[in-house]
């Protein structure tokens, strides 16, 4: 945290490849910003940490970065429902610049509370709702519909445990279909709920990105493999462009081999699985902004 305001650079980014800038957003109560930024840095990104007040004062920052990460935590305490306060602020004041960044090929990653925030903004699932009026009187941009919710876990309490995820989409730049990722969940509100029509629509558009599976890959799964009772075992979804990903589990908590609980048994993979989404996203960004 000492280096919070600083920008760290990793040597891995060779001279040839473009500089990829990722903005890691921080609000009161955000607490996974350092490790999330670090995972991007490991994959060669130049990471800038910023407080939401600063971004709200200068939304233009979003025109000079290639990606936005909204890390886990309890933004503003989550006392009104996870992600509500930050989600509302972003929905009213940052939607347009974010949408523009994504239009140009940029990415948005929301992990845990970041996913909850993205759902509150409507950026996920990102169904357009042209009929809905803008929130601030006088501003009438196209506001995406808030079509899914992340509700209280079925057991109604916070739960920290490792889960197995499987990428089930071809659409998302963070994932390749079939990728398997072990990483922990740690949340109280992660049960994805939506009506059947929304589920069908997401499914048809290949927007269901990650599912909870059993350690052997089996699906569907009961509790605790599905740790919150999420519909269809959904752990993460992407938007229609595939460049916005929200997920409840924390891949950034499996970026060093010794973080993997299999490590002491000698069964952990050499390359930590949690880095996959960061790797894939960076590959996409380098290609796009070459």
């Amino acid at each position: 945290m000492a280096a919070r305001a600083k920008t760290r650079k990793r040597k891995r980014a060779t001279k040839k490849s473009p500089t990829i800038r990722i903005l890691v957003l921080r609000a009161p109560g955000t607490n996974c910003d350092q490790e999330t930024g670090y995972a991007f840095e490991r994959e060669g990104a130049t990471v800038e940490h910023m407080h939401v007040n600063a971004l709200l004062a200068q939304p233009k920052v979003l025109t000079r970065v290639h990606g936005l990460a909204i890390p886990g935590g309890f933004s503003y305490g989550d006392d009104l429902g996870a992600g509500t306060v930050l989600g509302t602020a972003m929905r009213t004041r940052l939607l347009e610049p974010i949408q523009r960044m994504v239009d140009k090929g940029g990415i948005v990653l929301g992990i845990c509370n970041g996913f909850q925030v993205l759902v509150k903004t409507g950026l996920l699932p990102g169904f357009s709702a042209p009929d809905e009026p803008g929130i601030l009187p006088g501003i009438a941009h196209e506001t995406p519909e808030r079509a899914v919710a992340l509700a209280s876990n079925i057991q109604n309490r916070y739960e920290d445990r490792w889960v197995t995820l499987k990428a089930v989409t071809d659409k998302c730049v963070f994932l390749r279909r079939g990728d398997v990722i072990h990483c922990p969940v740690a949340h109280a509100e992660g049960r994805l709920v939506c009506d059947d029509e929304v589920l069908d629509r997401m499914s048809a558009a290949d927007q269901i990105a990650l599912r909870y599976v059993a350690p052997d890959g089996e699906s569907p799964v009961p509790f605790p493999y599905n740790p919150n009772g999420s519909v269809d075992d959904i752990a993460g979804i992407t938007d229609p462009t595939g460049r916005i990903l929200g997920l409840m589990p924390h891949p950034e908590r499996n970026q060093f081999p010794w973080q993997d609980p299999r490590f002491h048994r000698g069964d952990a993979p050499r390359s930590p699985e949690g880095l996959l989404p960061f790797k894939n996203a960076m590959r996409h960004l380098r290609k796009t902004f070459a």
Partner: protein
């Protein structure tokens, strides 16, 4: 009152007495869409049923907001649509009743729970922030929860159960029906005057009465010292002065018993301590004089070297009495407080891990056995865990290590230990406020919260404590503290302050008093932003409102600091300045309400000598006939809540945040118990911290000296088992005791201190910080006094050079040999095996001279990676340790007790004795010879006693009780059965 005044002061709308048009209060009800799953309702149902409400068919919940401000119905509609109600899950109604769900049909009762005025309500405050953010000008917000309970029970019974299970009278109102209207209380005016308290003419009893009336918790001798001081000065003290003295002289702040003089007499003879702690626990540290100890016993927390550049620090605090009265708030502010201790260590440390150790009454205690005025242990447990969870998780600090103990004597007075570990640059370890520096407070606002917390913690609880002391309870606001953390570290790295400390017990009075001890300070309490109007000067001065820090900031750096705080919505203000006149001057505006000499404040406390005696406890060592089998015994032990799985607690804590978890509380494919936690606190570095604890009050019932030695040993071996280097472990002494004015109780703490000293010297392990909480007693209505057992918690913190060389306790590979290292003795005294039979015994486990050699040798074999799995036999002995290693994996174990070294040959002792300094190790087959050679060379006793089996069964064989020579099977149980028994030991969860 809060809500109204809160928005008042933060919206910056000044103008006292400005015309206040009465604005309407809008009611907004929000419920789940019909047919939705309602987890909160399910949980409420479980809790109501547990509180004794029978025949509940279903419970559903809806919430209500009351909003007041410059707004109309359209604004409220928009507030609901855009912010307060989720469009996917919820429906809402403005200014009218929400249509209630039909539920399962039949009679339904409604009950509503809402926060009392003056109690922090983060939900209401969040709503205000969010709505203001989208342009809705709301000034006052109140929120409530209404429970719909489908039951045939009478309203009276539903209400009674709700008071026990859904709300807490101390902080909440629980009322029948839904609440349709709410009146925001009017703020009261602030009283500003200097008030003196005539004391100079008082003698003896009158002084004691005065102390009692003002809630000062000062003794007659102390009151006399104060009176004499004011006779000398020639005036009467002010209320603020008396309050300040009471805070500073409290047991909580001054540790007057443990730092006092004691005359001890026991079977070892008579001895006198001028300063008990200094001559025992500190003495060992001074004697050991380790260069890697950077700061010991002087700051908020002890600091040891981490990697040369940074140090790590640790502190453990108790929050027993607040947790007895309001478990959620008490425990939450307990963890919040110890986190601030770390923030206030040196010029500020960054917290990297939390720990928690709780002692409660038995979870299965019949309700009728719970004394009046205290809550059922399960309710306390649930509340405490939720409090630690909600605070620790929101702070983004992983809670990685802990313990849960149960004993009847904790029923009225639970013990809640919260620990925090931080990391701090070497250059920031020291701090010193200088004359001319500004006294700057930042963080939360000041309210009437926790008035008299420091003095309250130093008196016994009784059945009326709940009502009399409710002011001592507070609800934390972790996000404010998280903001403080974010600011503090940035300011530290910009070198904006010369010193910082936390506002803990005693509030500003202790923080400013301590920082200014050597220079003096002059402050104006009217500068403090308040949660609501109407606070007296002394209330502002001693309020224990949470989430506040005090920093000494050179005037030219103040604007930078202020700007930093403004950018992240943290409140900061100048309270005054450090002076150089060695006086503590407190003003309210221009009125001086306190003018104390720092010398008298800090050194004027009269010293008294206390007497202490000790005679060994316990009962006669029972004799048992040898039995053929012990399967049942092992299963019973695994089913004891103290030994059984704590998974229900563990999983509610985020133990992964900050991405540093290496060894977690649960380990192995099947998730068995780990010995200690390993955390890598610096991203990108493989260097780690190990955290463990040792606690066993049952040994203390026999001899607290043995208990202290055993607790240090347990903490050490837990740390060594995961791979710590015993030469780089430091420990903390944390005492929770009964009333030490009784010589017999004081004697037990003297023995424990001596045990701490001797263990530290034996292991070469310094104490770096400590905590004592005395007067942990509960007086029942019948007048019976229940004192907690002597409860010493030893917390260990070690540094590990490479976290990749750590080890977990789950079995790894079939075919590998199992070794038992260390000696087993006839030491069942205080054991769980005896306890199961409600016996104590007399042979408490001893720590012997060879212990350091065993620790060192085992640590080496782990570091060299000969060891694949390591676990220490403690509660339940070798039998339980073997079972845990096996059921954490999908393998089994075969163990032959005849190969276990020791001074006892009887099967039951070999199985269940809790002798110290022993390890069960699974050793890599290929390295077994080298392993054995290493231990032999070190002169350490060990036996190759078993092997890892592919078949998932635990088999333990021993000597034939009939005298035959062949191995005799004592235990044979499939690991699945062991695991299930262990997992179901602690029934707390309502399962979905």
């Amino acid at each position: 009152m809060t809500t109204a005044a809160k928005s008042e002061s933060s919206s910056g709308r000044g103008g006292k007495g400005a015309a206040r048009p009465t604005r309407p209060v809008y009611r907004l009800e929000i419920g789940l869409k019909p047919g939705s799953l309602d987890p909160a309702g399910l949980e409420a149902r479980t809790n109501l049923a547990e509180a004794g409400l029978a025949g509940i068919r279903e419970v559903q919940v809806f919430k209500t907001f009351f909003l007041r401000g410059r707004l109309g119905p359209d604004d409220v509609e928009r507030a609901a649509r855009e912010v307060l109600a989720d469009p996917v899950q919820e429906v809402f109604a403005v200014r009218q009743d929400l249509e209630l769900p039909s539920g399962p049909g039949g009679p339904m009762r409604m009950v509503t729970v809402l926060r009392k005025s003056g109690v922090t309500n983060p939900e209401a405050e969040s709503a205000r922030i969010a709505l203001t953010g989208i342009g809705i000008d709301v000034r006052d917000v109140q929120s409530a929860r209404t429970y719909l309970v489908w039951t045939k029970a009478r309203e009276k019974d539903v209400l009674a159960a709700a008071r026990r299970a859904l709300g807490n009278d101390v902080i909440e109102d629980v009322v029948p029906g839904r609440v349709r209207s709410f009146t925001f209380p009017k703020p009261t005016k602030r009283r500003i005057r200097r008030r003196t308290v005539p004391i100079r003419r008082l003698e003896g009893k009158a002084l004691v009465t005065l102390s009692f009336q003002m809630g000062l918790s000062l003794t007659k001798v102390e009151m006399e010292a104060i009176r004499d001081e004011y006779r000398d000065i020639g005036r009467e003290p002010t209320d603020v002065e008396l309050e300040t003295l009471a805070q500073t002289w409290s047991e909580h702040c001054k540790h007057k018993t443990l730092a006092g003089a004691v005359e001890m007499s026991d079977e070892r003879g008579e001895r006198r301590f001028e300063n008990l702690l200094k001559e025992t626990v500190f003495h060992a540290t001074t004697e050991l004089d380790k260069s890697w100890c950077w700061s010991v016993f002087e700051d908020n927390a002890g600091v040891i070297d981490f990697d040369g550049e940074d140090g790590v620090c640790m502190k453990v605090e108790t929050h027993n009495h607040p947790s007895a009265i309001e478990p959620y708030g008490g425990a939450g502010t307990g963890i919040g407080g110890v986190i601030r201790d770390i923030l206030g260590t040196g010029k500020g440390a960054r917290p990297v891990a939390n720990t928690d150790v709780f002692c409660f009454g038995p979870p299965d205690m019949p309700m009728e056995d719970v004394p009046k005025g205290s809550m059922h242990p399960r309710r306390i447990l649930r509340g405490v865990v939720a409090g630690v969870r909600d605070y620790g998780n929101r702070m983004g600090i992983p809670t990685v290590n802990g313990a849960l103990m149960f004993d009847e004597r904790y029923v009225g007075n639970p013990v809640v230990y919260c620990g925090c570990v931080g990391i701090i640059p070497r250059k920031d370890v020291s701090k010193k406020a200088r004359p001319g520096d500004l006294v700057v407070a930042f963080g939360g606002k000041t309210g009437r919260d926790g008035i008299h917390g420091a003095t309250f913690s130093s008196v016994e609880l009784h059945s009326e404590s709940e009502t009399v002391s409710s002011g001592a309870v507070q609800i934390g606001d972790p996000i404010t503290e998280k903001k403080v953390l974010d600011i503090l570290i940035q300011a530290r790295d910009k070198r904006l302050f010369t010193a910082v400390t936390d506002c803990g017990a005693g509030g500003f009075s202790s923080a400013v008093g301590e920082m200014g001890e050597h220079v003096g300070a002059n402050v104006d309490v009217s500068k403090a932003p308040l949660k609501y109007e109407g606070l007296d000067a002394f209330e502002i001065w001693i309020s224990e409102a949470q989430e506040r820090m005090v920093a000494a900031i050179p005037p030219k750096k103040w604007p930078v600091f202020k700007e930093l705080c403004d950018a992240e919505d943290v409140e900061a203000f100048v309270l005054g300045e450090f002076t150089g006149d060695k006086r503590l001057t407190v003003r309210h505006g221009k009125t001086v309400v306190c003018d104390l000499d720092m010398g008298f404040l800090h050194d004027g406390l009269p010293r008294i000598t206390r007497e202490a005696t000790f005679t060994a406890g316990g009962d006669a060592e029972p004799t048992w006939k040898p039995r053929k089998r012990y399967d049942k015994d092992l299963l019973e032990l695994l089913g004891m809540p103290q030994i059984g799985s704590k998974e229900w607690v563990i999983r509610q804590y985020d133990h992964e945040v900050q991405a540093g978890a290496v060894v977690r509380p649960l380990t192995g494919t099947e998730q068995g118990p780990a010995d200690a936690a390993v955390v890598a606190p610096k991203l990108g570095s493989n260097r780690g911290i190990v955290l463990s604890n040792g606690i066993n009050p049952a040994y203390g019932d026999i001899d607290p000296y043995a208990m202290a030695m055993a607790a240090v040993d347990e903490a050490m071996r837990n740390a060594v088992a995961v791979g710590a280097d015993p030469a780089r472990i430091a420990v903390l002494d944390n005492f929770t005791w009964g009333n030490c004015n009784r010589p017999s109780t004081l004697g037990t703490i003297v023995r424990a201190c001596e045990g701490c000293r001797d263990a530290a010297l034996l292991f070469g392990t310094p104490f770096i910080s400590g905590k004592d909480s005395l007067n942990n007693e509960f007086r029942t209505d019948e007048g019976e006094l229940i004192s907690v057992p002597p409860t010493l918690l030893i917390s260990a913190i070690g540094v590990i050079a490479d976290v990749r060389k750590t080890c977990t306790s789950d079995l790894k590979t079939p075919g590998n040999p199992i070794y038992v290292v260390g000696l087993t003795h006839d030491e069942l005294g205080g054991s769980h095996w005896y306890r199961r039979k409600r016996r104590v015994g007399r042979n408490a486990p001893q720590v012997r001279e060879d212990a350091p050699a065993v620790m060192k040798a085992v640590a080496q074999t782990i570091r060299k990676r000969y060891v694949r799995a390591a676990h220490d036999p403690s509660e339940g002995g070798i039998a339980v340790a073997a079972a845990e290693m096996a059921f954490a994996s999908d393998h089994g174990m075969h163990l032959d007790l005849r190969r276990v070294k020791g001074t006892t040959r009887e099967n039951h002792r070999l199985l269940f004795s809790e002798s110290t300094t022993r390890f069960l190790l699974e050793v890599d087959k290929a390295k077994a010879k080298t392993f054995e050679a290493g231990l032999k060379k070190a002169g350490v006793a060990f036996g190759k006693a078993g092997r890892v089996t592919k078949e998932p069964t635990l088999t333990i064989v021993g000597r034939d009780p009939a005298g035959g020579r062949a191995a005799h099977e004592l235990i044979r149980i499939p690991t699945v059965k062991l695991r299930e028994t262990w997992r179901n030991a602690l029934h707390l969860g309502e399962e979905a």
